[in-house]
């Protein structure tokens, strides 16, 4: 974790906390740090994640203590108290979350004490500790969810046996989090289950408060959200299931089957109708796909959540040959092991230049030799940082991961049956876009 990073693909835990809070309904952040952190971190993700933009209250709207040299020397708790009081008066929220930055953690402000007093006075407020040096954005996501669900919300009196919570997709750092969550929710609804996604526009604050009553937490990442789900089980007694985000019919069939089993339901009908719909469209693409000879070698450059599901889709649904899956988020050894199931050639690298060089080392080009078996034709599905890497190799490119500056993402998602179609459209659309 410790070394310097070339063009890191995540910000700090505060950055992750802010984008998480920004996408929760009716939640107002109070950023206890220098005046620039909130604006800089929010803008980076509002523009850098498929132009996610600002939510209900974030970016330049975020309340902040804007501590300056005075507070760094004399302590920032007075400023925090003043800011919380004014925020409660001015900003309309159902939950206020104080998130700290590095300087207020370094000077040792008693944030819990200040927030505790407001809480005792009846304000719906909690504090999370998100100093930048304690992990990156992905950790910030878990810290916020852990704070809200496992520290703030009380245990539910009754469980709702058909209710599930979805965790694991980090807003922005998973650029398709909304479309993916919506599709997983739709799939589960097909089984008769209700899902809290928390982050899609249909959600209200009631979804957050209903979460402790869920019968199951589904974590759609082998790495992120797992800690939250583990603590959730401890506090609320809700078991959790860690599974890959299902992309395309092969993965979705398996996902539905297992989800149904866990609830004693039958997925047969959902799977059948899902496949009928998928192949009803997908099969039409066969003429172009085959006559156009669109079989490709493929390289993926994504975070740990997308790496395996995307590689699996490319391999299973398109029959492409995945030569390298670069995982760009910084993982512990244990987290890395969770991904290493041998199915795809995973490499843990994050620098743009590092990845381009690794690709060159793994697959030297033919340098004009007549007989040379290189990896062409090649398709790189990665972040906007890979666009130049792809161009340099004459490869096709689709932006699917953070930072994503070359496309706008609204409700687009690649999960499920419908997402599998979208991904087909987008991948092949890039190849065909050169026609005029």
């Amino acid at each position: 974790m410790g070394e310097c990073l070339e063009r890191p693909r995540a910000a700090c835990s505060l950055g992750g906390a802010l984008v998480t809070l920004a996408n929760l309904p009716d939640v107002v952040p109070i950023i206890h740090t220098s005046g620039g952190c909130g604006g800089n971190l929010s803008a980076a993700i509002a523009f850098g994640a498929g132009y996610l933009g600002d939510g209900y209250c974030n970016g330049r709207a975020s309340p902040t203590t804007a501590v300056s040299e005075t507070e760094v020397v004399f302590g920032g708790t007075d400023r925090l108290t003043e800011q919380i009081r004014a925020t409660l008066e001015l900003m309309d929220g159902k939950l206020y979350v104080v998130a700290t930055g590095c300087m207020t953690e370094m000077i040792g402000d008693d944030v819990g004490g200040v927030v505790g007093e407001f809480r005792d006075g009846g304000a719906p407020i909690l504090a999370v500790s998100t100093p930048s040096f304690k992990g990156d954005s992905y950790h910030g996501y878990d810290i916020v969810l852990d704070g809200i669900f496992n520290k703030y919300l009380p245990r539910a009196e009754r469980k709702n046996p058909k209710l599930v919570n979805l965790f694991g997709l980090v807003p922005g750092y998973d650029p398709f989090f909304r479309g993916d969550l919506a599709e997983v929710k739709r799939l589960l609804a097909g089984l008769g289950l209700t899902a809290n996604t928390f982050f899609t526009p249909d959600q209200t604050f009631a979804n957050i408060t209903s979460a402790p009553g869920a019968a199951l937490n589904i974590v759609l990442s082998r790495v992120w959200g797992v800690e939250t789900a583990r603590n959730f089980e401890e506090k609320h007694g809700t078991p959790f299931w860690v599974t890959d985000l299902p992309i395309g019919p092969e993965a979705t069939d398996a996902f539905l089957k297992e989800a149904a089993e866990r609830f004693g339901l039958d997925a047969g009908e959902s799977i059948e109708s899902g496949n009928r719909e998928f192949y009803g469209y997908f099969a039409r693409g066969a003429d172009l796909f085959c006559d156009g000879d669109l079989k490709r070698y493929a390289v993926t450059v994504t975070n740990s959540t997308y790496a395996l599901p995307l590689s699996r889709y490319l391999s299973a649904e398109l029959g492409w040959v995945v030569t390298d899956s670069f995982v760009t988020d910084k993982l512990t050894d244990a987290q890395q092991e969770a991904l290493a199931d041998g199915a795809f050639p995973i490499q843990f690298l994050t620098g743009t230049q590092e990845i381009a060089r690794a690709l060159k080392n793994n697959h030297p080009d033919g340098r004009g030799q007549r007989y040379f078996d290189d990896i062409s034709p090649l398709y790189i599905a990665g972040s906007t940082l890979e666009k130049r890497t792809a161009a340099a190799r004459g490869a096709n490119y689709l932006g699917v991961s953070f930072p994503l500056y070359d496309r706008i993402v609204t409700d687009r998602g690649y999960a499920g049956y419908r997402g599998g179609l979208h991904l087909f459209e987008d991948l092949i659309g890039q190849i065909m876009s050169v026609k005029s």
């Binding site: 974790m1 410790g2 070394e3 310097c4 990073l5 070339e6 063009r7 890191p8 995540a10 910000a11 700090c12 835990s13 950055g15 950023i31 220098s34 005046g35 620039g36 952190c37 909130g38 604006g39 800089n40 971190l41 929010s42 803008a43 980076a44 993700i45 523009f47 850098g48 600002d54 209900y56 330049r60 709207a61 975020s62 309340p63 902040t64 203590t65 804007a66 300056s68 040299e69 507070e71 800011q83 009081r85 004014a86 001015l90 900003m91 309309d92 929220g93 590095c102 300087m103 370094m106 100093p131 930048s132 040096f133 304690k134 990156d136 230049q353 906007t384 940082l385 130049r388 500056y405």
Partner: protein, 505 residues
């Protein structure tokens, strides 16, 4: 000790009368700034903004063949992705190689915050040098290492002996200054301390041999060339179209123009001393380096507002022309240009006349554009500036003359902006980048105060500004419809009270 000799430059608060909090009349602002009450003002509620570190990083990212090392935990450099895409576009618009600036973060962890990050900074500088072979490595110092007391300057001093790139340190921990504009000084301080700003013999020129029979002629040629060359100091908000317009106008006066410091290279920066005049295009942007260059090379400088609109462009041109004895030519040029442009803008001027406008952005640009709008017959309801310092006094003396009734607010604060839009009910907002989405969500017609991809300066710029405003009024359906579906995070009671109720004196 002279501030230029210090390792760490003073922030604006220490150098100038400055403020980021005010609401009132123009005269009141001028008095408050003069008497120093501006810095005493504060708010009991703040919303997030940006910081001088981001500004310094933004400027560094424009320098050709550089690499940026941000000495910080992993998040501070988050905007570098955006900045590097943005500046690679800026490079290609100026005919330079379109290569995104490489950047690294020292990625300070808890252990570094306890044990110090100097070794990591050393390693990162070395890695930047080896991996990217840049001409310049900018080292950006941030809050965390400043608090733990990393001796960044010493690391940089040692690194200069080890790496092939020139190393420039930018000291800009965000908590040290409340005004973004401090970034300009921090960036310039880094340049003037870390790079050569005058040409090197045999590398950049062939010294004139005084025994050469043609020596006198060669000296004459050199002096003539220098006497007809001006450096114009740009800013990130000033785009290539604006540079082209300024170059067009100054070329018409027979001057050679070089733009600094953004989008220049190390080699180009060594020509800084070879000019008759240094010219600013924004009163609060460049005084720090222009005073240094006068001290060091004896080059006089001109700070004379921003060349936007007829009157300011003429004044700016005259200010450049006067010390070079070209006043008559400048007036003739302005006469001729105004005649052509006045005809061209006439149809748009009819459309915008009488509109009630709220303006928002950097102090100088917003003040200058406000007077331009007022003189075109718009009613300037309010002028909002991000910060204010005494460098903007002349612009605001002008504002006082031209539009004395405008409400002036020194504010980066979106809630105050929202209040003004809802209560002043302008027909049009002309605002800084980063607020346009919010304006659309409020349903008000708005255009950019600046946009580095478009023209704003001089005669071509005025035409484009007005053309864009007229274009925006041609169909407002997007913002009309969008605003009906937006819930604001503020309680209604705030909008029933005073805009500036959270300002403390």
């Amino acid at each position: 000790m002279n501030c230029y000799e210090q390792n760490v430059p003073p922030v604006r608060e220490a150098r100038l009368k400055v403020g980021d909090t005010f609401g009132g009349g123009v005269q009141e602002l001028l008095t408050c700034c003069r008497e120093g009450c501006l810095l005493q003002k504060n708010r009991s509620f703040w919303q997030a903004g940006s910081c001088m570190m981001n500004g310094a990083m933004m400027m560094a990212a424009t320098v050709e063949k550089s690499a940026v090392v941000v000495h910080s935990p992993g998040g501070c450099a988050a905007q570098m992705h955006f900045l590097s895409f943005q500046t690679s576009k800026g490079m290609s618009r100026r005919g330079k190689p379109n290569v995104p600036v490489p950047w690294l973060s020292t990625n300070l962890t808890e252990a570094d915050v306890i044990g110090g990050g100097e070794q990591k900074l050393r390693d990162t500088i070395r890695r930047a040098d080896e991996a990217f072979r840049p001409e310049i490595i900018f080292v950006v110092n941030t809050c965390a290492p400043a608090i733990i007391g990393d001796d960044v300057e010493e690391v940089v001093r040692q690194a200069r002996l080890e790496v092939s790139a020139d190393v420039v340190s930018l000291h800009c921990p965000g908590f040290k200054s409340r005004v973004f504009a401090s970034a300009y000084d921090m960036f310039y301080h880094g340049l003037l301390r870390g790079l050569a700003l005058s040409p090197k013999a045999w590398t950049d020129y062939r010294p004139i041999d005084d025994n050469d029979p043609a020596a006198a002629l060669k000296w004459q040629q050199y002096e003539y060339q220098k006497a007809h060359t001006v450096n114009v100091w740009n800013a990130t908000s000033i785009g290539s179209d604006d540079e082209k317009e300024i170059e067009r106008l100054l070329s018409a006066l027979g001057l050679a123009v070089r733009f600094y410091a953004e989008y220049s290279s190390r080699d180009e920066l060594r020509q800084v001393s070879e000019a008759a005049l240094n010219v600013s295009m924004c009163d609060v942007h460049d005084d720090y380096i222009l005073k240094f260059l006068e001290e060091k090379f004896g080059t006089p400088y001109v700070i004379a507002g921003m060349p936007v609109g007829f009157r300011h462009t003429r004044e700016w041109l005259l200010a450049v022309a006067r010390p070079l004895g070209l006043e008559k030519e400048a007036n003739a040029l302005a006469d001729c240009e105004e005649k052509l442009a006045r005809e061209a803008i006439a149809p748009f001027a009819d459309i915008v006349r009488g509109k009630r406008v709220l303006m928002y952005g950097g102090a100088v640009r917003v003040g200058v554009e406000a007077t331009v709008m007022a003189e075109l017959g718009l009613e300037v309801l309010g002028i909002r500036t991000y910060h204010y310092d005494e460098g903007a006094d002349e612009v605001f003396e002008d504002v006082k003359r031209v539009t004395p009734k405008s409400v002036v607010s020194i504010s980066t604060q979106l809630f105050e902006m929202t209040h003004q839009v809802k209560t002043l009910k302008p027909d049009l907002v002309i605002a800084h980048n980063g607020t346009q989405g919010y304006m659309a969500k409020l349903g008000v017609v708005s255009v950019q105060l600046f946009d580095s991809d478009k023209a704003f300066f001089g005669y071509a710029g005025l035409y484009q500004i007005l053309r864009r405003i007229a274009f925006e009024f041609k169909n407002t359906s997007y913002r009309d419809r969008l605003s009906r579906h937006i819930r604001l995070p503020y309680r209604q009671t705030y909008f029933e009270g005073d805009t500036f109720r959270y300002i403390k004196n």
